[in-house]
C-alpha cells in the first residue's frame, strides 16, 4: 500500500505543475488550453537535445527546457490568442487543440516518431520503510515541491502574484483598480510555460520521450485542475496528488492501461456532483 501511495505521489508530482499552469491560465483567460500537454512534450524534447546531443547535465537541461517552453507558450499567446481575447471559450478551445496538433507535428518533423530517453546514470533503487524508489524519483518529488512553494510565495507575497490572483478572480475589476491585465496575462503564460517545461522533463525522466508524451497526460492534468476548482492553484496541487493516487489504485486493482481513464471518470463524477470542484465555491450567476 505504501508503495502505491508513493507511486501516486510520483504521478501527482508530474501532473501538479502543469495543472497549476492550466488552472491559472483557465482562471484568467476563461478557456481550457488543450495545448498544455503538448508543451510538456516540448519541454521534454528540448531537455533531451540539451542532455543527449549537447551532453548537459539533466538539471541544466531542465532549466533550458523551462526557459524555452516559457517563451514558446508566451509566443503562442502573442501570435494566436492575443488577437482573440473576445472570442468564445469554445472557439479558443478548438484553437488550442489545433495549436497542439501543430506543435506535436513540428516535434515529429524534428525528431521523428522514435521513443527516446535521457542519458541518466543508472541508479539502484533504494528501499526505505518497505517502499522502493530511485533517487530520480525523489528528485522529481522534491523539485516539484520546491517549485510549488515558489509559486505559493509568488502568489502570496509579491505584487505580481497578487495581481495574478486578482485578475483571475475578477478580470474587469482588476483592470478598474489599475492593474495592467495585459501584463498579468503575459506573466501568467511565462510562469505557466516554465512550470509545464519542468514537468515535461519530469515526465521524460519517469516515462519515455515521444511526441505523444504530453497528450497522454492532458486528461489527468485537467482532472487535477477541475478537482481542485478552476482558478485555484492550491486546489490543483491537492487535485494532482489525488488523481495520482487514484490512478495508481486503478492500476493496482484493475488494469494498468486504464490509468489514463481514471482522470476522465474523476472529472465526470466530480462535475456531476460538485460542478465547482472539490474546494471551489460556486460562482454567483449574474
Amino acid at each position: 500500500m505504501g508503495q502505491i501511495l508513493f507511486y501516486g505521489l510520483m504521478d501527482g508530482a508530474i501532473i501538479a505543475l502543469p495543472a497549476i499552469a492550466f488552472t491559472m491560465l483557465f482562471g484568467i483567460l476563461r478557456f481550457p488550453n488543450f495545448a498544455v500537454g503538448t508543451f510538456m512534450t516540448v519541454g521534454a524534447f528540448i531537455a533531451l537535445t540539451l542532455n543527449v546531443t549537447f551532453g548537459a547535465p539533466i538539471w541544466v537541461a531542465a532549466i533550458g527546457a523551462m526557459a524555452f517552453t516559457s517563451v514558446a507558450m508566451w509566443l503562442s499567446d502573442v501570435i494566436i490568442f492575443k488577437a482573440m481575447r473576445e472570442s468564445h471559450s469554445i472557439s479558443l478551445l478548438i484553437v488550442s487543440i489545433a495549436l497542439s496538433m501543430i506543435v506535436e507535428n513540428i516535434i515529429r518533423l524534428f525528431y521523428g516518431n522514435d521513443v527516446r530517453g535521457f542519458e541518466l546514470p543508472l541508479e539502484r533503487p533504494i528501499k526505505f520503510a518497505g517502499i522502493k524508489f530511485t533517487p530520480d524519483q525523489l528528485w522529481i518529488i522534491g523539485t516539484a515541491i520546491v517549485a510549488m512553494l515558489l509559486v505559493h510565495a509568488l502568489l502570496k507575497y509579491t505584487r505580481l502574484g497578487k495581481a495574478m490572483r486578482a485578475t483571475s478572480d475578477n478580470f474587469a475589476l482588476a483592470e478598474v483598480r489599475g492593474i495592467n491585465t495585459n501584463r498579468v496575462i503575459g506573466a501568467t503564460w511565462l510562469l505557466g510555460g516554465a512550470l509545464i517545461g519542468l514537468a515535461g522533463v519530469f515526465a521524460g525522466v519517469d516515462l519515455v520521450i515521444e511526441p505523444q508524451l504530453g497528450w497522454s497526460l492532458t486528461i489527468p492534468v485537467f482532472a487535477a485542475a477541475i478537482l481542485g476548482g478552476i482558478g485555484s492553484p492550491y486546489g490543483a496541487m491537492v487535485g494532482a496528488v489525488l488523481v495520482g493516487i487514484a490512478e495508481e489504485l486503478t492500476g493496482h486493482f484493475f488494469e494498468p492501461s486504464y490509468k489514463v481513464g481514471v482522470g476522465f471518470v474523476i472529472i465526470t463524477l466530480l462535475l456531476f456532483f460538485r460542478p465547482h470542484g472539490l474546494f471551489g465555491q460556486p460562482e454567483i450567476k449574474k
Binding site: M84, I102, I267
Partner: protein
Amino acid sequence: MSAYLISIATFVGFYMILALALNLQWGLTGMVNFGIAGFFGMGAYTSGLLTVYVGFPFLAGVASAGLMGLVAGAFLSMLSVRLRGDYLAIVTLGFAEIVRLFLLNEDWLTRGPRGLSIDVRPMSESFDRNEYGIFYLGIVALTVLIVYFIVEKMRRAPYGRVMRAIREDDVVTETLGKNAFFYRVQVFSIGSMFMCIAGALYAHYVQSISPDHFVPMVAIFIWMSVIVGGAGNNNGLLIGAGVVMLILEGSRFLGDFVSFVDAESLSAIRIIFIGVLLILVIRFRPQGLLPEPKFQAPVGIKTTRVN
C-alpha cells in the same frame, strides 16, 4: 470514375454524416462534443463484432450500432450535458479516450491493437470489385441524404426553435416550460446515434478496423468540416466535409512532387497545415463559408466578452 475517386467520395460521405450529427448537437443546440471518435469507433465495433461473432446480417449490425449510439449518447449526456461548454468538451473527449482504451485493452473481445477483420457486406456477390465500390458509395450517399433530411426537418420544425432557444440561453427555455435537459439529452442521443451508424458503415467498408482509426484527430476533422462550412448550416457543412477531405487528400499528392520529404514528415506537414488552416478560419471567418441562415450564429462562435 476511378476507384480512387469513388473511395474518396465514400469517405466524404462518412465525414458528412458525422458533421451533420455534430451540427445537430453543437451548431443547432450548442452542445459541445469532442467524443466523436468514441462514438464513431463504438459504432464500428458494435456492428463489426455482432456481424463477425454473432452472425448478424449487415442491416441488423448497422441498426444495432445506431441503438448503441442512442443508449451511449443518452448515458453520457445525462451525466454531463448540463455542464458548461468547456467542461463538456473535456468530458466528451475523455469519453472517447475511454472507448479507445477499451478497444485497445479488451482483446478477448476486440482483438486489441491487431484489429478486427469484418467480411460481412451487403450483396457482396452481386457485383465485381469496381461496381461494388459504386454500390457502397450509393448506400453511404443514401444514408447521408436520410440523415440530412432528418436534421433539416428537425431544424425547421418547432423543435428547431427549442434547440436554438436552448443554445442561446437555457434559463429562458426552462422558464418557458420546455424541459431543456430532456431536449438536450434527446438531441445529443440522436446525434450520437448518427455517429455510430457512420462508424458501422465505415467498418463494413474498410473491412478491417483497429483502435488507432478512432483517435481524437477524427473529431478535429469533423469540427473543422462544421466550422469551415458554417456552424448551424447543414448545406455549409456538406461543403465543409468536402473541403476538409480535399485538403487531406490533396496534401497527400504533395508527396509526389516534393521528393525530398519522407512519408512520415509529409504526414506531419499535412497535420500542421490543417491546424494552421483551422486557426485561420476561426480567427478570420468564424461564421464559416455559409453562415447559418437568418438565425444568429451559434454560441460557440459568437464573440462575447468574458465578464
